[in-house]
Amino acid sequence: MNLATRTIRSLTAGVLALVLTAGIASAHHSTAMFDMQHTVTVSGTVTQFDWTNPHTFIWMDVLNPASGATEHWSVEGMSPNYLSRNGWSRHTLKPGDKIDMQVHLLKDGRKGGFCATVTLPDGKTLRNLPGPPPKS
């Protein structure tokens, strides 16, 4: 797997979580373009945070340790409507923040995906998709 950062493959917890995730995340569009069975941890620096409908977007620069090049990642998230009821605000992320993100990668190999969780600079982990409380 050609990934820029340390990667962790993990099965999404439980069938119920998967069903809930599929139902809730697919309101606007299907999750078929993402690998919803696995997440990969991507670490980088936030360059922009779009607090917009129908989806939030986290743009970040990720250093590829192998090539030394900086890659630009775009990771989609749940809507502001959903996230603001689940511990997020438009101030949660700002340019320059160094974060670790669990991402359901795009299947087509481009540098993007759907955000599962974000671990903030202070170590706090926020869940983006619904499911059991994330481990910090």
Partner: protein, 258 residues
């Protein structure tokens, strides 16, 4: 003062008034009928059940696609659905029209992961729906359905109160809306909803879809909503930053251009 001509004009006005009253009997019920129907005056609204707050579909209470089960389809629509599923395996039909910010319309607009709010005003129950910032207008003033309604996303909705249950019948939907992904409908679709609060914070909608061209029998599901008294309906403008639009084959895509 009054000339014969004016007298004639006066009689004509009475005739016109009579015509107006008889017209309103079909458009909105007679004033006498309206006054008797629950929910048609501010006074009677005070006796309606308390549906204040906003209501979120409870996905754990069987609203998920799998839990709702499948309607029984006519051979024609079963064949269309089978083709839809086969095309999915080839990467088509991953998206529906909502990926392009086209609202789903009825019935799917009522099963979005965003809350709804019920507003009672005389003669009307309005459903404010957060997803796609949609609105449904349910007339409870005794009027019948429009004879030939223009097809709309939400349909022509007529309701009446049976005790604490709001019974809504909707017809006249745009051709492109879906009963569920892969299952369209005909011009004969009707949707009945029996809406009631079953506990202080639980609302239930028993929804029955009929469509003789598509379904071999009416399809009834029970949708459960939970109340949030500390939420408000928020704005949701899908076109604000949509990076997930679909191609005509419903293929998945994501625009990563800044």
């Amino acid at each position: 003062m009054r000339s014969p001509g004016n007298q004639w004009a006066g009689s004509f006005a009475v005739v016109l008034l009579g015509a107006a009253v008889s017209t309103s009997a079909t458009a909105g019920g007679t004033p006498e009928t309206k006054a008797r129907l629950p929910g048609t005056t501010w006074q009677s609204i005070a006796h309606l059940p308390d549906w204040s707050g906003v209501w979120e579909l409870d996905w754990r209470a069987g609203a998920g696609r799998g839990a709702m089960g499948m309607p029984k389809l006519t051979p024609d629509y079963q064949a269309r659905f089978d083709k839809y599923r086969a095309d999915q395996k080839e990467g088509k039909n991953q998206q529906t029209q909502t990926a392009n910010c086209d609202p789903p319309g009825m019935p799917q607009i009522m099963t979005q992961p965003y809350p709804v709010e019920f507003l009672f005003t005389p003669g009307k129950v309005t459903v404010a729906i957060e997803a796609y910032s949609q609105m449904r207008r349910i007339f409870v003033d005794g009027r019948p359905h429009q004879e030939d309604p223009d097809p709309t996303y939400q349909g022509d909705s007529i309701g009446h109160w049976e005790g604490d249950t709001l019974v809504v019948d909707s017809v006249g939907f745009i051709p492109d809306s879906l009963i569920m992904p892969g299952i369209g409908h005909s011009d004969q679709m009707s949707i009945e909803e029996r809406i009631r609060r079953v506990s202080p914070d639980t609302l239930e909608i028993q929804r029955t879809i009929k469509d003789p061209k598509v379904l071999t029998e009416p399809w009834t599901v029970t949708l459960t909503y939970k109340r949030h008294t500390d939420w408000d309906i928020k704005e949701y403008i899908c076109a604000q930053n949509n990076r997930d639009s679909a191609d005509p084959e419903g293929r998945a895509d994501m625009n990563l251009k800044r």
